[in-house]
């Protein structure tokens, strides 16, 4: 489905190659005016310009080309294997896994990094991927389950890393530069490391190509042809991970290229797998190299480092948004969740009452028990003035935020009939985070009110974007989710750039972004609680839509539901809920994904019960997360959103194994 008929992969690559050539020549002339061919081929060791060209500029160019090619290759393999046009090397958690092990090594076993940095990164990437596989194995690595497992592992490893970064910012400053994909080189080591490994990956892909092409058929047909899908998929994923881990270990985390190169080549007319396998690495190489050259031209004299890997992701987000309406999704949509796999509970009311009571009990614990100047204390009447005034707003806000995220998650999961859907995935949490980030950066002394305003602004802009882009498709759930994922891409990229800049202000940004109830005052907490209650009441009458929409568009329509309008209204509600909750607990919690799942697994399957049950589970989770976060490393506090991710993520992985 090419957009403009005369674009072909070869022509597009040719165009980029031309751009790269022009940029490279003009770049070379800046580094070494005059005799640059001499510098390239026969550097004079006494001339610093020659040295720069030969040992810094040139290896950097080649490293960018090799890295881009590797990611492009990995992207094709993953997209083909998972039958998901938006799969990418980072989907399986490889990058975040490598980041976590490198981080642990930096903090606890720095000696490991001297000679085996690549190995440490590879181990982390492989472990993360192994975890994803283990979680999805029972479902024969079914695409939807694998992607879901990857998402969860990614969020989980990311959250774990964040805890360490929050407390060890100075020690980890080098790793943050790596995490943003800075391509600077000062010898040929990186290139010599990457080249043979990329060659190996290409050879393996060539061997697998024929068997992989069968995956374009559906499972039944493919099996009839005698291809063991399980093993072909596993082998292909392993190659992709190997290549990704090599690139990541050497160059850092580079967003978007692995996703975009195959997708753009597909749109440009590379329809067969063989064509994509040929062209995507070429295009990936050119894409990364061009971006890097442009950045080198632009950042000339600036004081801040603008790393290439994160920048490609920032540039990629708008392109991704543009791509979404043009992707052929019908064929590649993950198979819908089976209509109602869980057993319906016999007495849902009683179950909901239990959940509500548990949430209340947790709130009581969080209000009355905690550590103080003299260690653990039990409630005393006069202690309330010391502690209660600080705890009440936090417990209230955490509960309300958890409830709102859970409700938003329940609604979006039902509207889309997709188990991966959650307010986090919708991108509104990320939009809110971007708003906060901009404020902290440009208005250094902003107060709580300013932060609330900026966060809401970010959420509204994201919502507007979401609506504008998806209006034409009638808010098809898959496309709405993809829009959200693009915004998340943008957010995580900006976050990486901020981290790499390693400005002393970073810690404040991190603490806010990762969802702390620290800055909530009683007024805010009450307002948020009222919003939560109002939205819950508002969604009660809409339960009928939520019972019918998961049955699919034709069924719902034939039963008299105005699908487009109902989806629009429900998405609007989700947006408001999410924005309000994100201001309190940050963009990264799992609660919106988790609570509705747990409620459903408990047997709450009718929309009305499902929503109410989710609300209580969500409140319980978030209050518990906030309390644990405040006690675990007392007097330091771990943001509630982070703890929720860690508690919830562990449970979710255990759960996934049993689906």
């Amino acid at each position: 489905m090419s957009i403009v008929p005369h674009i072909t992969p070869a022509r597009l690559c040719g165009l980029f190659a031309l751009v790269l050539f022009v940029l490279a020549v003009s770049g070379l002339q800046q580094v070494a005016p005059g005799d640059w061919p001499g510098a390239v081929f026969a550097p004079n060791p006494d001339n610093i310009r020659d040295i720069l060209v030969h040992y810094s500029w040139l290896p950097r160019l080649f490293a960018a080309l090799l890295g881009g090619a590797g990611l492009g290759l990995a992207g094709v393999l993953l997209q083909q294997t998972l039958r998901n046009p938006l799969a990418s090397p980072t989907t399986l958690g490889v990058a975040n896994g490598a980041q976590l092990t490198l981080l642990l090594a930096t903090l606890f076993a720095p000696a490991l990094l001297v000679h085996s940095r690549g190995l440490v990164a590879f181990a982390g990437g492989a472990l993360a991927m192994g975890l994803v596989f283990a979680l999805a194995w029972r479902r024969a690595l079914a695409p939807a389950v694998t992607v879901l497992a990857g998402l969860v592992v990614n969020l989980y490893l990311g959250a774990l890393s964040f805890v360490f970064i929050l407390f060890n910012q100075e020690q980890l400053k080098g790793l943050m530069i790596w995490g943003a994909g800075a391509l600077a080189q000062n010898n040929w080591g990186g290139v010599l490391y990457l080249a043979p490994r990329l060659g190996l990956g290409l050879a393996a892909a060539a061997v697998l190509a024929r068997a992989l092409a069968v995956l374009d058929l559906d499972d039944v047909n493919a099996r009839n042809l005698g291809v063991s899908l399980k093993y072909v998929r596993a082998a292909s994923l392993a190659v992709a991970v190997f290549v990704t881990a090599c690139v990541v270990a050497q160059l850092g985390i580079i967003g978007f290229v692995g996703l975009a190169a195959p997708a753009i080549m597909r749109l440009a007319g590379a329809r067969t797998l063989a064509a994509r396998l040929c062209w995507a690495p070429v295009f990936g190489a050119l894409l990364l190299a061009v971006t890097d050259q442009v950045l080198q031209h632009l950042t000339g004299a600036s004081a801040a480092l603008i790393p290439t890997g994160a920048t490609t992701a920032v540039l990629g987000a708008p392109l991704l948004l543009w791509l979404i309406p043009r992707l052929a999704l019908s064929r590649t949509t993950p198979p819908a969740q089976s209509a109602d796999p869980e057993q319906r509970h016999a007495a849902p009311r009683r179950l909901i009452a239990w959940a509500g009571m548990l949430a209340l009990a947790m709130a009581g614990i969080a209000l009355l028990i905690g550590q103080g100047a003299d260690g653990w204390t039990w409630p005393l009447v006069d202690a309330w003035a010391d502690t209660g005034v600080w705890r009440l707003p936090r417990v209230l806000a955490a509960g309300a935020a958890g409830a709102m995220l859970a409700l938003a998650g329940a609604v979006i999961q039902r509207v889309s009939g997709n188990p991966m859907a959650s307010p986090e995935v919708l991108g509104i949490t990320a939009g809110t985070g971007l708003g906060l980030l901009a404020l902290i950066w440009f208005v250094p002394a902003a107060g709580t009110l300013g932060m609330l305003g900026a966060g809401t602004g970010g959420a509204l802009i994201t919502l507007g974007l979401l609506l504008a882009i998806n209006a034409r498709s009638g808010f098809a759930p898959e496309r709405v989710l993809l829009t959200g994922i693009s915004v998340m891409f943008l957010f995580s990229a900006v976050q990486r750039i901020v981290l790499a800049g390693n400005d002393p202000r970073t810690q404040a940004v991190l603490a806010w972004m990762w969802g702390s109830t620290y800055h909530v005052d009683l007024t805010t907490a009450l307002v948020v609680s009222v919003i939560a209650a109002a939205m819950l009441l508002l969604t009660r009458p809409l339960a009928m839509w939520l019972d019918l929409l998961p049955l699919g568009m034709p069924t719902a329509r034939s039963l008299g539901v105005d699908v487009t309008r109902s989806r629009l209204l429900l998405l609007g509600i989700v947006a408001v809920l999410t924005a309000a909750a994100t201001l309190i607990v940050g963009p990264l919690s799992f609660v919106g994904l988790l609570a509705p799942h747990m409620a459903r697994l408990l047997g709450l399957s009718r929309a009305r019960d499902h929503m109410l049950g989710s609300v209580f589970v969500g409140a319980l989770l978030m209050i518990a997360a906030d309390w644990v976060g405040r006690q675990l490393l007392f007097p330091a506090e771990i943001p509630a959103g982070l703890v929720a991710s860690l508690l919830g993520g562990a449970y979710f992985m255990w759960l996934l194994r049993r689906i």
Binding site: P45, I48, R49, I51, L52, Y55, S56, W57, T106, P110, A111, L113, V114, H115, R117, L166, F167, E170, K173, G174, L175, I177, W178, A182, A184, N186, N187, S302, A303, A304, L305, G370, G372, A373, D386, T387, W390, R391, P444, A445, A446, G447, T448, M451, A500, G501, N502, D503, P504, R505, Q507, A508, A511, S516, H519, D521, F634, P635, A636, E637
Partner: protein, 286 residues
Amino acid sequence: MLVGARTAFAADPPRVATVDWAQAETLIALGVPPVGLGQMDAYRTWVGGELPDATRDIGLRVQPNMELLEQMDIDLFTLSPMYAALRDRVARVADVESVSIYYRGGDVWSNLEAGTRELGALVGRKTAADRLIADTTAHIERLAEQVPADTPPLLVVQFMDARHVRVFGRNSLFGAALNQLGIETAWTGETTLWGFALVPLERLAAIDDARVAVVEPLPVGVADTLSASVMWQHLPAVQAHDVMRLPASWGFGGLSSGERFARDVVRALNSDASPAGLSRALPATR
């Protein structure tokens, strides 16, 4: 600023807590060590120096533990504009005063002295503050006399990894200390509000008449990578002079950090350069 209200403290020093390490360091030098300090362990690692036993950790610098502060009976909480978001909440448990050094622009060393005076006034130790400034000035003047006449401009860097450095300019703490010693700062490029720039190594190639001063700690493996790196070895500044290695200093600290840095620089300038047999470009010992 509200100085009159605090004269009562002159006899009995107030219980002060702070989240800003530069201010903590200054308070200790003034003889009023903070009773509460954000991220104490990290402070010991990065700023160094003795902390009294009575000092308590109050949690992350951006989010000091409010319940704990409430129970600690704090008289005064000092912060810098970077932590302005804390003001309203902390104001509920203690008086809050903001002292600004790095955010205000202008000459960093004068800002350091002004900040020290402000802090001294806030804790009722005006004379101690004046004495600290006078002592530091005198010490630096003595140090300045020991600076060799042929000292080239110094390029002060701190390695982030083997490919990137923080390079400190004139409006950083290090640059200000060098200026007091009468030494030029080699980096004249753009810097952030804190006076440093984060750049890849090749950007240092443009600086030729300078001596490189590496502030520790050096991340693991960097020394090996550098001694094998043709580009590093050929950087004009590395070629021109022996690389100087300085013990760790907190680059965003107060007067005491600046003084310590100046002392270390002068000591390094006067010690014999690299021992024989080790890489000329990056001596492994100092």
